[in-house]
């Protein structure tokens, strides 16, 4: 039924050139049948009158120029969706990996999605309690937000992400909740950690997992986040669920993108990454959000490891420009033995303002948050000063701030992996810390809240 081409003229990494093509469309899905009968898929990356450049989604291992057949399928890559997706595990290209059957499609969705019309977006404003003080208190997460975790090798981002997935809830509501987990290039051990955690807590029942391990073809990673997000869109906007999407690790995804760009001999941007990395990442991250008159939502937690802990590396840099804040993990806190090692000063949640306060968390939340930031920043400055001049040279006030910073890290930041703190507990801890500082120093807090909470 489809015309078969035996005219592959070159294969280079993930790129295949097919000659003498007719009526091929841009971005069309392609099936390549290897001479051993294996079928691999790809998409049209560029098409001219009699030639098509195909990017394979799967490994080109074993592909030969003479015997392979190419079919153009006339449609883009799709994901078969149905409510049966929940509880299933797939590989990075969407094939079942748990031994279960193929999904019988209730609907087929283009994995590239379509942009949400900005005028129908509903502004995220529902506070999600993660039970982690550094997030809830300092960088609150809201439903429909995209908040990445900037980590680095050797830091416990997996544990933190699992803890968030386990504890996240919206206060006072019982709603349909699901987790979509997209893993790109992580190790077996990491994947196993998540699987066990999901099984242990029963979360697996309401989860969909797409897993591409470190030893699996790198080019399949291009599809993995798109499959995950398409699945999430179906669960959120067709089945009215609140979906938390975890994408780990975006650094490997970007490296695969770079590999394809290099194979195409494109002019590289910074550090060899393609110039369109920003646009490409945006088409993924921007799929998170809420839509007016739809019940469900997509909250996105991408995890990436910063090469050399460098925040200005293109991957964290461009991610930060697209996402609504970032949670940054710090090696310094990790060395002090503090879990979770969230570095609150450079971390940020841009959507906090409409998600917290009266009726949502507590009226004083925003002021407490700002004041804790300011005091901790001052405390860290004092700490630096003490290193140069010795603690004795500090003014009395600076000594207080230094003490504040130490206690802040030890009590407020530090928390057990199984410990779930309510937002009220977190705020109370914040006030306890603020009472170390003289009242007239607390300029970021409105007088009426000082009146109400400081003296207690």
């Amino acid at each position: 039924m489809f015309k078969e081409y035996l005219t592959i003229s070159s294969v280079s990494g993930p790129l295949v050139v097919v000659e003498k093509t007719e009526n091929v469309k841009y971005a069309e899905l392609v099936e390549v049948e290897f001479s051993d009968g294996a079928i691999r898929r790809g998409r049209v990356l560029e098409v001219s009158e009699d030639k098509a450049l195909v990017q394979m989604f799967e490994a080109t291992l074993g592909l030969d120029v003479v015997g392979a057949k190419v079919r153009f399928l006339g449609r883009t890559q799709e994901l078969a969706v149905s409510p049966d997706l929940l509880g299933r595990v797939f590989d990075g290209a969407g094939r079942p990996r748990d031994g279960g059957p193929q999904i019988i499609a209730a609907k087929r969705m283009d994995i590239n999605g379509a942009p949400i019309n900005p005028s129908v977006r509903d502004y995220p404003s529902e506070f999600i309690q993660t039970g982690i003080s550094t997030i809830d208190g300092m960088n609150p997460l809201v439903r429909g937000q995209k908040l990445p975790i900037f980590s680095a090798s050797g830091l416990p981002h997996a544990r933190l992400t699992a803890q968030i997935a386990r504890q996240a809830k919206v206060l006072g509501k019982e709603e349909q909740f699901a987790v979509v987990f997209g893993a790109m290039g992580i190790t077996f051990e990491e994947a196993d950690f998540f699987m066990r955690d999901f099984q242990h807590t029963g979360a697996i029942e309401r989860s969909v997992l797409f897993i591409n391990l470190a030893n699996e073809p790198a080019i399949e990673r291009i599809s993995t986040p798109r499959l995950s997000l398409t699945c999430a869109e179906y669960l959120a906007f067709d089945l009215d669920m609140h979906v938390l999407v975890i994408l780990i690790d975006m650094t490997f995804y970007c490296e695969s993108l770079r590999e394809i760009s290099a194979a195409r001999k494109e002019i590289p941007g910074r550090r060899g990454y393609p110039g369109y990395l920003y646009t490409d990442l945006a088409t993924l991250y921007e799929r998170a959000g809420r839509i007016k008159n739809k019940k469900g939502s997509i909250t996105l937690l991408p995890v990436l490891t910063m090469p050399e802990d460098d925040k200005t590396h293109p991957i964290p840099d461009l991610t930060g420009y697209i996402t609504e804040g970032q949670i940054i993990l710090s090696r310094e806190l990790q060395r002090k033995g503090i879990y979770p090692p969230v570095d609150v000063l450079p971390s940020l949640s841009r959507l906090k303002d409409k998600g917290i306060g009266h009726d949502k968390t507590r009226e004083d939340h925003i002021d407490v948050l700002n004041q804790l930031f300011a005091c901790y920043a001052r405390g860290k400055e004092a700490r630096e000063l003490a290193v140069i001049l010795g603690e004795a040279a500090l003014s009395d006030l600076d000594k207080l701030y230094l003490k504040f910073a130490d206690i802040f890290e030890d009590k407020f930041v530090r928390q057990e992996e199984s410990q779930e703190r309510s937002i009220i507990q977190t705020l109370e801890m914040g006030w306890e810390l603020l009472r170390l500082i003289p009242r007239e120093e607390l300029k970021r807090i409105r007088p009426e809240y000082l009146e109400r909470y400081y003296a207690k």
Binding site: N117, I267, K443
Partner: protein, 582 residues
């Protein structure tokens, strides 16, 4: 002649043959789906087309339709309060037709064709008119009187003009010109890449007040000026631009969200109908137009969005309004240029950006200005442009930042350190500058007070002194500084924390009028002057910096605009409490 057809597709770039007769920057329709595109390069009969929509499913052999018209916007009543994508398609109408996700090949008039507007003619038949003359007025919103002007390059005698209800494409007047009788409707079209004509440009000499203390007092922008705000992510560019859009003292605001976040647009759409213009008390949406081409929308339309925005802004400027345009972020626009340039296989300049980057940036910012509009009434209008720049890693040597700094007159440099200490707006006072101070001196003298200029200079001097004193203190300890120097540190800290720091999310602090800014700065510096005279001993110093009046100073920001007389009381109290130390 050969019919035009596609021979190659590569992402948003489509190459078509058989396009002889097409002109550069003409609009075309690609394939049967009629996707909108624009010609960006011609080689014999080959046309290189950037397509403003997703090109998946398009292939060689499909037709291309030439329109012989450059990419244009439709200008007329109904613009205000709208939200458009990068090529002026109305997003709210699209939503009602195709649903929550944007699909392709949608062609829709930018303005409501059915809606009737009441036009009140301002001239009579028989009158002679020239380009830019106001023919009639439509009350578009309670804030904006939409003036229907004689289209550029037209002059003649009015044959007919009617009062009454017209839709935007109905003829309400006829003008006899040298080329015959021309019909006039409420709307006109204008190509986006061509600046609209003005009679002449003049020197920007009025302050565009934004309600942001660090900007209005220290680094002001004039009406008709241009400014840029570069900074790394998380330093608060967007919040600052949103604050401008809310509080800037302009009559019309055009906000271009160019390749940025969808939720930020949602935020504007949610808050603007509710927020009130501080001068008129009307909802801010009644003076605002939003162009939203978010980062996940097609990249070529992102390139066009800046031009669409600035053309609409110029149109309102031509009516004699003061217009402010915010572009967030010009880096995303430059990246769209780079992407198209790469696909055209052009030789790259710095960082892969095309060699013409800086000339494009300069052309864009040059469309700002205070002008005498076309028309015989010599009305003036102003277009101020403020652009955010998002350099990688916050590095100011980025080509887009450098190209921008060469043309803009105001630079607000955002500082990551300030942002992580939650000092907002995180504008670093030591690196930022404004070249409008001299232009604005007369304006400040006439509208606020001649003292304002001296106060600003003194405050700036204290801040600079603070920076060098802190270096010394870091080396030898703060105790070794003289009392006078320590007072400077105290006062500079007060300027930073009580004046420069401003909370965008506090209902009163979010906007400070110029007059209130003047009072605030005056009191802070008055404290400095009085204290300096009175500090003789270490004991005095400790007491004076702990006086209760200082807490009042730190809370001045929360004094509502309608109770500015409280500043008199604070001044009084300040004098009294320091009088004891004489």
């Amino acid at each position: 002649m050969k019919p035009s057809k596609i021979i190659k597709v590569s992402g948003p770039l489509v190459v078509a043959e058989g396009c002889a007769g097409a002109k550069m920057y003409d609009m075309v329709r690609v394939s049967e789906q009629k996707l909108i595109g624009e010609i960006i390069e011609l080689k014999k009969d080959l046309a290189f087309i950037q397509v403003y929509e997703e090109t998946a499913g398009i292939g060689p052999g499909e037709p291309v339709y030439l329109t012989q018209e450059p990419l244009s916007v439709e200008l007329g009543p109904g613009l205000i309060g709208s939200i458009y994508d990068g090529i002026q398609r109305p997003l709210e109408v699209i939503r009602s037709v195709v649903g929550d996700f944007i699909s392709r090949g949608i062609e829709m008039p930018a303005l409501d064709l059915k809606k009737k507007w009441h036009i009140r003619p301002q001239v009579k038949s028989g009158a002679r008119v020239v380009a830019g003359d106001i023919l009639g007025v439509v009350s578009e919103t309670p804030l904006i009187e939409h003036k229907i002007m004689v289209p550029p390059e037209m002059a003649g005698e009015i044959v007919e003009i009617n009062e009454g209800e017209f839709s935007i494409r109905e003829v309400f007047a006829r003008i006899r010109t040298e080329e015959g009788i021309k019909e006039i409707t409420l709307s006109q079209r204008w190509p986006v890449r061509k600046p609209r004509r003005v009679k002449e440009k003049s020197k920007p000499d009025e302050l565009l007040s934004t309600g942001q203390r660090v900007i209005d007092t220290f680094f002001p922008v004039a009406k008709g000026g241009s400014a840029c705000i570069p900074g790394p992510f998380g330093s608060g560019k967007t919040v600052v631009l949103h604050e401008f859009a809310k509080w800037a003292d302009a009559q019309v605001i055009v906000y271009v969200a160019c390749g940025e976040r969808g939720n930020e647009v949602a935020d504007l759409l949610l808050s603007f109908p509710e927020l009130k213009d501080p001068r008129s008390g009307r909802p801010l949406l009644e003076r605002t137009i939003i162009i939203a081409n978010t980062s996940n929308m097609p990249v070529a339309a992102r390139e066009a969005s800046i031009y669409t925005g600035v053309t609409i802004a110029e149109y309102f400027r031509d009516m004699g309004y003061s217009v402010a345009l915010m572009a967030d972020s010009t880096s995303r626009w430059a990246e769209a240029l780079r992407e198209m340039s790469g696909r055209l296989e052009e030789m790259p300049g710095e960082e892969g950006y095309p060699a013409y980057l800086s000339s494009r940036v300069a052309e864009f910012y040059e469309r700002a200005g205070k002008v005498v509009c076309l028309g015989s009434d010599t009305r003036t209008g102003a277009l101020s442009i403020m652009g955010a720049v998002s350099p990688p890693g916050g590095d100011l040597s980025d080509p887009v930042v450098q190209a921008t700094l060469r043309v803009v007159k105001v630079f607000w440099g955002l500082d990551e350190k300030l942002a992580s200490a939650r000092h907002f707006p995180a504008i670093n006072w030591l690196i930022s500058y404004s070249l409008y101070h001299e232009n604005l001196e007369d304006f400040l003298k006439n509208n606020i007070s001649a003292d304002f200029i001296d106060l600003r200079k003194e405050a700036m001097r204290l801040l600079e002194e603070e920076a060098s004193l802190l270096e010394i203190a870091r080396l030898i300890g703060i105790e070794s500084l003289s009392l006078e120097d320590r007072l400077v540190l105290e006062v500079a800290k007060s300027i930073r924390e009580d004046f420069l720091h401003q909370n965008a999310f506090h209902e009163i602090d979010t906007h400070t009028s110029l007059l209130k800014q003047f009072y605030m700065l005056k009191i802070i510096l008055e404290f400095y002057h009085l204290a300096r005279e009175r500090i003789k001993t270490e004991e005095d110093f400790e007491k004076i910096i702990k006086l209760p009046i200082r807490e009042k100073i730190s809370r001045m920001r929360y004094i509502p605009e309608d109770r500015l007389e409280e500043f008199k009381k604070i001044e009084e109290e300040l004098k009294n409490s320091l009088a004891e130390y004489v």
